[in-house]
């Protein structure tokens, strides 16, 4: 990793350094080296770590996808056995949803929410660190199943009773259940933390209706997580009590109703879809106005439609169950509510398009990805409407048409949006700009690849090829233009096209890390607060917390209406450097930054010990529980922040610009 020196802020820039003595429990003090990362509570370092780990899991999940496409490239293929194929698609989905898209969105939220709202950190820095370590350990725990007797093989939806020990005899499902419990805790505490940060830690003047859309969408997502995670938690507990402790929640022989699982899973699962997509909506709502050089069209409508999606998203879960036999009344109600949700989604697409209209469009890689997101998401959204109609859905559900739909939404919408975020924010996070030339190739390969891979799946599905099939037989493929064999091969070629695009991104990251050329302070002529500080930002984010006067505050500090012949003209009156110098002319003093802590990683580490114990030996669980308890007490008793006299030099004035939470 020596070539990829990830740095967030220059430690020497800290205004004050905590001294060695911090009460009875010492806090770690390293400001460089691995310790400064492992024990950090800095939201920016945690954001980078979230991103790096999520990217690793993206590559892992991508390899699983490639193996799936290799298997399906030819009739009756034997690349993967039936068992391995089932494990592969289960883990591909689980990895991409829980270990890539969600944490990658969390990476952006962690890094940019405090910056965008004008805060020095999140509300609870140690909880933030705990969330990251839980995610990492949960992901490792889940994937360790590959070498400990077999990965989960029941599909990411894990329908009962197929998930019971009788029908899935390996420990795979146990790893899945317990691993998701761990990452679920990570998501829940992350959600609480970020909600409090956005609601309570905004800079002066940063009213809710001046929040950047990214912050708004993340706020909606955190509320969705807050209420969706406990529902899946209940479902997971019921399943693990059944598998590990002999209960019979989904055992039909004992009179259980297997549809209970489906309801619980989808009450979580449908909000989850919006949890995946809304962060990207937020990202492209930042990127498009920046590169169109005009504000987001209909800011209020975009914000409210996001909130509306968040609300209505709770009333559509049963559209995943139109073939389950719910009865015509429920089916009709959920069919109509599902169509309703297309309205706010359509509003968003219209607003992005109208933001482009009349703009001064600058086609950077970030902008290409953002426009690609609109296009691909629109296709996914429209195919979604075709199965909102329940009768049509009974033909389409569990076929490749659905696979096409949600990959257009999640890869075309969410993932492309995240890539827009990478290219847009990379100079802010690392002080260096990703290569635009490689970026262009990256974009086009991914854009074409997504269409090549998932476009044909519309055809495959409507021709009746179901999902989750390890083989497709040659003799049922049909003739002519719609030959299933041909389109399966096209999809497989497409998947490698996407992979090539992603590979170029990875190469781009490494080349950029090596390059010495610094990025300009404001490379994109951006609009929001995170650009009002150095790149990368200092540990304390802002030398002086800005007071906000308008939506797109940073833009309005740079531009002014100037009288010209034939009316006024918008002219850049100050450079970013000048704006920053003006703001920092009077830096805040005595900022109390959260100190690093040993406890988050230790506390997080106790959870996989407990869960391995549940699977292999309960004594191990007891041992893990003891660590958990000790870490919790250590956490509480640790001084959350140094006293004023414990700083070097002492912060004698007693005025702090950063209040720290005692349970932080």
């Amino acid at each position: 990793m020596t070539t990829l020196e990830l740095r967030s802020g220059d430690p020497s820039d800290s205004l004050v350094t905590p001294s060695a003595a911090l009460g009875i429990f010492r806090r770690p003090l390293a400001t460089t080296g691995w310790k400064s990362w492992v024990f950090t509570v800095d939201h920016k370092k945690l954001g980078i770590m979230y991103g790096a780990v999520a990217m690793f899991f993206f590559l892992l999940g991508g390899c699983e996808a490639l193996l799936i496409r290799l298997q399906l490239a030819a009739p009756d293929n034997t690349v993967l056995s039936a068992g391995l194929y089932n494990e592969m698609f289960t883990m591909h989905a689980t990895t991409m949803v829980f270990l890539f898209v969600m944490p990658m969105a969390a990476a952006f939220a962690n890094y940019f929410l405090p910056l965008q709202v004008g805060a020095r950190d999140v509300a609870f820095p140690r909880m933030n660190a705990l969330g990251f370590w839980l995610f990492l350990f949960g992901g490792i725990f889940l994937n360790s199943s590959w070498v400990l007797g077999g990965a989960p093989d029941g599909g990411w939806f894990m329908y009962s009773p197929n998930s019971s020990a009788l029908f899935s005899p390996s420990h795979g499902v146990d790893f899945w259940v317990l691993g998701l419990q761990i990452t679920g805790i990570a998501s829940l505490i992350g959600a609480i933390n970020l909600i409090v940060t956005v609601i309570n830690m905004r800079a002066p003047g940063m009213t809710l209706m001046r929040l950047p859309v990214f912050a708004w969408m993340q706020l909606v997502v955190q509320f969705l997580l807050l209420f969706a995670i406990p529902v899946i938690t209940v479902a997971l507990f019921l399943l693990s009590f059944q598998r590990n402790f002999g209960a019979a929640f989904f055992d039909v022989e004992q009179g259980a109703d297997p549809l209970l699982w489906q309801h619980l899973f989808w009450i979580f699962g449908h909000p989850e879809v919006y949890i995946l997509i809304l962060p990207s909506f937020g990202i492209i709502s930042e990127v498009i106005p920046t590169f169109a050089r005009k504000p987001l069209f209909g800011y209020k409508f975009v914000v409210f439609s996001g909130a509306a999606i968040g609300f209505v998203g709770w009333g559509v879960w049963a559209h995943h169950m139109f073939a389950s036999g719910l009865g015509p009344v429920s089916v009709a109600v959920f069919s109509v509510s599902t169509m309703l949700i297309a309205i706010p989604t359509g509003v968003k697409i219209c607003n992005w398009t109208l933001t482009l209209w009349g703009g001064k469009l600058w086609f950077t890689t970030a902008m290409n990805f953002a426009i690609g997101t609109i296009v691909l998401f629109t296709i996914g959204g429209l195919s979604g409407v075709t199965h909102a109609a329940a009768p049509a859905d009974t033909q389409q559900t569990d076929t490749y048409h659905i696979v096409a739909h949600f990959h257009y939404v999640i890869v075309g919408g969410a993932v492309m949006g995240l890539f827009a975020g990478f290219y847009y924010w990379w100079p802010k996070m690392f002080g260096k700009t990703l290569s635009e030339r490689l970026g262009t190739w990256n974009f086009w390969l991914m854009f074409i690849g997504v269409n090549l891979t998932f476009g044909p799946m519309h055809i495959l599905g409507m021709q009746g090829q179901p999902r989750r099939m390890v083989v497709w037989p040659d003799k049922l493929t049909g003739d002519g233009f719609f030959n299933l064999g041909f389109w399966n091969r096209v999809a497989s070629v497409g998947s490698f096209t996407i992979a090539t695009g992603v590979l170029l991104f990875v190469i781009n990251v490494f080349r950029t890390a090596r390059k010495t050329e610094k990025a300009p302070l404001d490379p994109w002529d951006a609009r929001t607060l995170e650009w009002l500080t150095t790149s990368p930002p200092k540990e304390h984010n802002f030398d002086s917390i800005p007071t906000v006067h308008a939506l797109d505050e940073f833009f309005h500090r740079k531009y002014e209406e100037v009288d010209a012949e034939g009316g006024s003209r918008l002219v850049k009156v100050k450079t970013a450097e000048e704006v920053q110098a003006e703001l920092n002319a009077h830096p805040d003093e005595h900022m109390h930054l959260p100190s690093p802590s040993y406890w988050p990683i230790l506390l997080a580490f106790s959870l996989p010990i407990i869960t391995y114990g549940v699977i292999f030996n309960l004594m191990l669980s007891v041992f893990g529980a003891v660590i958990l308890l000790l870490a919790a007490f250590g956490w509480v008793l640790e001084p959350s922040v140094a006293g004023h006299d414990e700083y070097d030099p002492p912060a004698d004035s007693g005025d702090s610009t950063k209040e720290l939470a005692s349970v932080g």
Binding site: P258, I343, V347, L356, A389, Q463
Partner: protein, 399 residues
């Protein structure tokens, strides 16, 4: 581009040739009700998509940065926003009304025939009784793989499962309905004309989910009557001294634990009754009384017909379909033939040699031990080639 591909998919899907599971080619009234909702939806979606992409495409070209002035910093126009909210709402209302109507239409349960359909890992069992399309079924008929129904007759399937959730789907006749253990759910099927309509299980159901297929076979009422009569015909024991007669003994010893052949009696004259619940997790195994009337085995996955005969049957006109189908593997063989020309013997032979090699079923010793010795499909019985010869001779007479 993607839009074009998507639009093309919609436009051409109706013209797909010989695509047995094409969802755009309804062959019965229920599937047509769905098609009437689905097809316009694709057109609406396609048109909306083209409009959006046209606007985006135009903007990209027209408003590219060519050094023009900074644009006006407009935050939107409320009237435009409201209009753009109302238009999709109106379109969706237009979609919602026929959708709801179709949901209730499809819930109609009136029928002239009820067939119980039971899913298990990894095949479907059908069980007939009462009257079906005017044909009296005097004793229960239990069969598997192929759902034989009278054409032009509304048939109500009562669907459930013995183990995990499966889903019954014949795209040409209707949408899917999940087979949920502990629940009885209905699905109405009706085929306009005689013919064979394929489908497969569409709810992920474990290891061999990909090899759980089915077909609906529609016959004219007369042909259906013939089929019923044949299914209920008394057992005819193989002629003494033939290979098939030896095969009968082998069958009783090796197969009859799980597989029922109605009317089969043991050497001591007692009826041979299968007890699959003692040997199989799902507690059921296909009834083989009339095995050779079916065109595929093992979850309707492996053809009993040779490729040429299969083509011939599948491409038969509705008029000639019934008589071909009723001949089964003896199709094209003539009345005096001793060996059926259409029989894909190698397939059955491979299957008897090692079923798990063709269709994985958690056959490893420790996996079988984990269920207390119950298997999830047919185990490898380590049959000798002689025994396989005998069994095939015996089974060929189960027609």
């Amino acid at each position: 581009m993607a839009v074009a591909a998507f639009a093309a998919a919609v436009l051409f899907a109706g013209c797909a040739q010989d695509a047995p599971q094409d969802t755009f080619q309804p062959k019965g009234p229920n599937a047509r009700t769905i098609d009437d909702v689905q097809r316009p939806l694709f057109y609406v979606a396609g048109i909306v998509g083209l409009i959006v992409f046209a606007v985006i495409g135009y903007s990209i070209i027209r408003f590219k940065d060519r050094g023009q002035d900074m644009p006006e910093q407009t935050h939107g126009k409320t009237w435009l926003e409201v209009t753009l909210t109302v238009i999709p709402a109106v379109i969706l209302a237009g979609v919602a009304i026929p959708t709801v109507a179709a949901v209730f239409d499809l819930d109609d349960k009136s029928n002239e025939c009820v067939i119980n359909v039971t899913g298990q890992q990894w095949w479907w069992e059908y069980d007939y009784s009462g009257t079906c399309g005017g044909v009296e079924i005097t004793q229960p008929i239990v069969t598997s793989g192929e759902l034989v129904i009278p054409a032009d007759t509304p048939v109500l399937l009562r669907i459930t499962s013995r183990d995990v959730i499966h889903s019954y789907w014949i795209p040409a006749l209707n949408g899917k309905r999940d087979a949920v253990p502990g629940r009885l759910q209905t699905l109405r099927m009706e085929a306009d004309e005689p013919g064979i309509y394929t489908g497969q299980c569409t709810e992920f159901c474990g290891l061999s989910h990909a090899r759980m297929r089915q077909a609906a076979v529609a016959l004219s009422t007369a042909d259906f009557q013939t089929w019923v009569t044949n299914q209920l015909a008394a057992y005819v024991a193989p002629e003494a001294g033939t290979l098939a007669a030896t095969g009968e003994g082998t069958f009783v010893n090796q197969c009859s634990r799980c597989h029922q052949v109605n009317g089969l009696v043991a050497a001591d004259g007692t009826p041979v009754l299968a007890e699959p619940d003692l040997y199989v997790v799902a507690g059921a195994a296909p009834n083989l009384t009339n095995l050779m009337t079916r065109t595929a085995i093992a979850g309707w996955t492996f053809d009993l017909l040779t490729d040429a005969c299969r083509e011939q049957l599948w491409n038969a006109s509705p008029e000639e379909f019934g008589s071909l189908y009723l001949q089964g593997v003896w199709m094209n063989s003539g009345p005096d033939a001793t060996k059926p020309v259409c029989f894909a013997e190698a397939t059955l032979r491979d299957w008897l040699r090692d079923p798990a090699a063709m269709k994985p079923n958690y056959a490893s010793p420790d996996q079988v031990a984990s269920t207390g010795g119950l298997t999830r499909g047919m185990p490898n019985l380590n049959l000798t080639e002689d025994q396989i010869d005998q069994l095939i001779a015996f089974l060929l007479e189960r027609k």
